[in-house]
């Protein structure tokens, strides 16, 4: 069980953002993973500029993914121009009860 957070470029319009999100979902699916939960935080101010952007679209996903597929997923995210930043963290299943999402 992993948690994936990524920040999309703020200049994307509505359909472009939807397309990117769908692309990420497909990426996970093709890597043999399954999206358990998806939460889009919308546009949020960055604490410091990344690639000359001061804002970004945040998305947080809980995914089941084979451990060997993580590297491939990260490489794909790194190559995606519209993804400013991403972070994959492991969720400890023993501590899962308190891993429910906070509402923004």
């Amino acid at each position: 069980m992993y948690e994936l957070m990524y920040i999309a470029r703020p200049t994307l319009d509505e359909p472009a953002l939807a397309a990117l999100n769908e692309r990420v979902d497909k990426l996970i699916a093709s890597a043999g993973g399954r999206v358990v939960k998806r939460e889009d935080w919308g546009k949020r101010r960055l604490a410091y500029p990344i690639a000359k952007c001061t804002e970004g679209f945040y998305s947080v996903l809980h995914i089941h993914l084979p451990p060997t597929a993580v590297r491939g997923l990260e490489r794909n995210l790194k190559l995606a121009e519209d993804v400013l930043r991403y972070l994959v963290t492991r969720i400890d299943p023993r501590l899962a009860p308190d891993s429910e999402f906070k509402q923004e």
Binding site: M5, I7, L46, A47, Y48, Y58, R85, Y86, K102
Partner: protein
């Protein structure tokens, strides 16, 4: 650091008129920087039996940063080694995804 050190480092805590909890550790260092740091005896995370610290919980993490955006040291927070480590990891993750700043200018 920001706390002004009380004079006479050997004076017992009852002499200080501060409302902070009494520090029961004997000061070993004479450096002013380490003096007069009234640290709570029990780790605040242990008291609440915290098992994980979420990097997305920005409001919580902010609390543990100095005005410059640095992670507050253990001697100021009174956290145990384990929880301080969890806290540091969470803050560093939050910094990576720009939820928290690496530095804050206070000029």
């Amino acid at each position: 650091m920001e706390d002004t050190p009380t004079s006479a480092g050997t004076a017992p805590a009852k002499a200080a008129p501060e409302a902070r909890p009494k520090n029961n550790t004997t000061p070993r260092r004479t450096n002013v920087r380490f003096q007069a740091q009234r640290v709570p005896r029990l780790c605040p995370f242990c008291q609440q039996k915290v098992r994980t610290i979420d990097y997305k919980d920005v409001d919580l993490l902010r609390h543990y940063l100095t005005d410059h955006g640095k992670i507050k040291p253990r001697r100021r927070l009174g956290t145990c080694a384990r929880h301080q480590r969890m806290l540091a990891t969470a803050i560093k993750r939050a910094r990576h995804v720009a939820l928290l700043p690496f530095t804050m200018q206070t000029l």
